[in-house]
């Protein structure tokens, strides 16, 4: 399923091509701007920020804020920097992404290739669940985590992210598998492959692009989540966003903006990396499934 060559070869004059490039570059600038501000200010000493223009380039370049944010900044009572929380976030995000993607893939497989009466209704219900405002689940979720005895643990947090990720991953895989030839499943059945063998041997190996979409989407959401992380993780296992918020949002302390920005960029680094590395699969995956509705 290679991206069809951009052969939408609509001929246009060289003047309009210049215009097109110009518009694209302007927008690129617009998109880069906030990140640029963060980057520039993370490399300045604090006095330069509070004393001067926040948009201008540093007069004196320094990487001290980065070092501080990573390993020495005060996050709560201990000056640990963001480092330990970074690891927490990974421990939380990786299993949650993997679980919700696998279950989403299985659901999509069942919903397209093994339809039974009521399956469409179940899918509709599952899809609507993507749109629930997370604020309302906080209290009842806390109660359930308490009953399950996983309140304040990373396991609990993984469960929460898994639960609210299934809707989206199922949507992605269902739309992708809807376009996957059913004859292949039938052929495999005749060949003697069972339910899971077909999934494992036939469906999954052809699901590369949509796995990428699902993982990107889930990873971004889970990594960036603050509300659940703050509410359902106890102190030591708090994810990166909670630590970043603790660093940035001190109520009555002195604000070290340069450290804040360095920390913010660090917190964003994994998701940025995922977008840059896997981003090209993103359009491809969207093309293969989800956009076709």
């Amino acid at each position: 399923m290679a991206i069809a060559s951009a052969d939408t070869a609509i001929r246009s004059s060289s003047f309009s091509r210049v215009l097109i490039y110009l518009v694209l570059l302007l927008f690129a600038l617009f998109y880069l701007l906030p990140f640029g501000i963060m980057l520039v200010n993370s490399l300045k000493p604090l006095e330069e920020i509070t004393g001067g223009n926040m948009v201008s380039l540093p007069r004196e370049w320094t990487i001290a804020p980065w070092l501080s944010a990573w390993s020495t900044a005060q996050i709560g009572v201990e000056p640990t920097g963001l480092r330990p929380y970074f690891i927490n976030s990974i421990v939380m995000a990786v299993p949650a992404v993997a679980l919700s993607t696998i279950v989403g893939a299985l659901n999509g497989y069942v919903l397209t290739k093994w339809q039974f009466r009521g399956a469409t209704l179940i899918f509709g219900l599952l899809l609507f669940s993507c749109f629930i405002p997370f604020q309302i689940v906080l209290i009842p979720m806390a109660r359930i985590l308490g009953i399950l005895d996983i309140a304040g643990t990373t396991t609990g947090l993984i469960l929460v992210h898994f639960v609210y990720g299934i809707g989206f991953t199922t949507l992605y895989f269902r739309n992708y598998y809807a376009a996957f030839p059913t004859e292949l499943v039938r052929a495999a059945q005749i060949d003697g492959a069972g339910f899971f063998q077909i999934f494992w041997r036939i469906m999954l190996p052809s699901s590369g692009p949509i796995i990428a979409v699902s993982c990107i989407w889930q990873f971004t959401n889970i990594w960036n989540d603050f509300l659940f992380g703050a509410s359902f993780a106890s102190g030591g296992s708090a994810p990166m966003t909670v630590a970043l918020n603790n660093l940035v949002n001190s109520s009555t302390g002195v604000r070290e903006y340069n450290v804040h920005f360095a920390g913010a960029i660090m917190a964003a680094a994994p998701t940025l990396l995922v977008y840059i590395v896997a981003g090209r699969y993103f359009v491809r995956g969207l093309m293969a499934g989800s956009v076709k509705g």
């Binding site: 004859e183 039938r186 005749i190 060949d191 003697g192 492959a193 190996p205 052809s206």
Partner: protein, 371 residues
């Protein structure tokens, strides 16, 4: 009891019955073709044999074993799909041996089986490729290889040639026929293409609207179609069907039709069966194959009853080997198939030679053949 028995099988989706009491007995080594227009139920029937769709009532048995409800993989069948359904992530070799692997056949045996099949189908050089790198014809072979390697009781083909271009389709058709002759396997083959049905089969089941309209050898089906549907569906160009009246002229039965200028024309029917008498002076449908209408020189030497028919030629279509000639009979376009060098021109008043041995009559109400 046959090798594959389909006994009074019906299929319903909810309240809608889509297959009605299908009853077919297939002998070992037979090549049965299910043919019919799309939606006639032929693919459903095939899928039911394969176990991909449930059987609402009735029984299907292979080698006297009832296979209703048996998992597809336990029926000892193999299937070739229209889209070939090759697993895109596996090599050709893996595709061919996947079924054996699933059935727990040891690797050495699988490889031997694969080598045999690859040799048979001349795809030895393709074994390490992925399906995406193959041409349509190659994929077709691989799909057949995947079916052959299992050495099943029954092969099922679901329109296997319809995704190929015209030339390749003819080649593959011949190849399938050769394979069948060589291996003597039992095959059930679904197609909507009546030429495939005619050329490949030992028997044909013509299906329409969930019913088997006629089951018989290609020759039976072609020469003695059971009803108007079979008559018009089988054969290309299809059989000319003309409204006619049966007349008793001089003690002999004639079919009366009208010519281009509305003049009555009479075609004598020899050895008419008794049943024709019931239709005397009543309206019937007269069916004549295009090749039964020729120029006098091109008429079948062995035919006993060639009738001459004088009428105006409206269009001629030279098609290389044949020339198709249209003329208006009983208000309808009627096509005659003639030698390439027949001397016919549009507008010409022409003496057509009609081989009435091959003519059939249908009841216009029931559309069943009379006789």
């Amino acid at each position: 009891m046959g090798f594959l028995d389909i006994n009074n099988v019906t299929k319903s989706y909810g309240a809608v019955e889509v297959l009605h009491k299908v009853d077919i007995e297939v002998q070992e080594g037979e090549f049965l073709v299910l043919v019919g227009p799309s939606g006639c139920g032929k693919s459903t029937l095939l899928n039911m044999i394969a176990g991909l769709e449930g059987i609402t009532s009735g029984e299907i048995a292979i080698k006297d074993r009832v296979i209703n409800g048996v998992h597809p993989s336990k029926r000892n069948i193999a299937m070739v799909f229209q889209s070939y359904a090759l697993y895109p992530n596996m090599t050709v070799g893996q595709n061919i041996t996947f079924g054996l692997e699933m059935h727990g056949v040891p690797k050495a045996d699988r490889d031997r089986a694969m080598a045999d099949v690859a040799k048979l189908l001349q795809i030895e050089n393709l074994l390490d490729r992925k399906p995406g790198q193959l041409s349509g014809g190659q994929r077709q072979r691989v799909a057949m290889g995947r079916a052959l390697v299992r050495n099943p009781d029954v092969f099922l083909f679901d329109e296997p040639l319809s995704n190929l271009d015209a030339k390749l389709r003819v080649d593959m058709r011949t190849e399938i026929k050769k394979l069948h002759q060589k291996l003597g396997t039992t095959i059930v083959y679904v197609t909507h293409d009546q030429i495939e049905a005619m050329t490949l089969s030992t028997r044909i089941a013509v299906m329409y609207d969930g019913y088997v309209q006629q089951l018989g050898t290609p020759k039976e089906i072609y020469d003695n179609p059971a009803n108007l549907f079979v008559a018009s569906f089988m054969g290309s160009p299809s059989m000319n069907v003309l409204p006619a009246r049966l007349r008793n002229l001089n003690g002999e039965i004639h079919a009366e039709i009208t010519g281009a200028e509305d003049q009555p024309l009479h075609l004598r029917i020899e050895n008419a069966p008794e049943s024709y008498r019931a239709y005397l002076d009543a309206e019937v449908m007269l069916g004549i194959r295009p090749e039964a209408i020729t120029d006098p020189e091109g008429a079948d030497r062995n035919a006993r009853n060639i009738q001459s028919l004088h009428n105006t030629v409206s269009v001629t279509e030279p098609a290389g080997a044949d020339t198709f000639v249209s003329t208006t009979l009983s208000g309808k376009d009627c096509i005659a198939r003639m030698r390439a060098d027949a001397d016919v021109h549009p507008g010409q008043a022409f003496d057509f030679a009609v081989n009435m041995d091959k003519a059939v009559l249908f009841d216009p109400k029931t559309e069943e053949r009379i006789g």
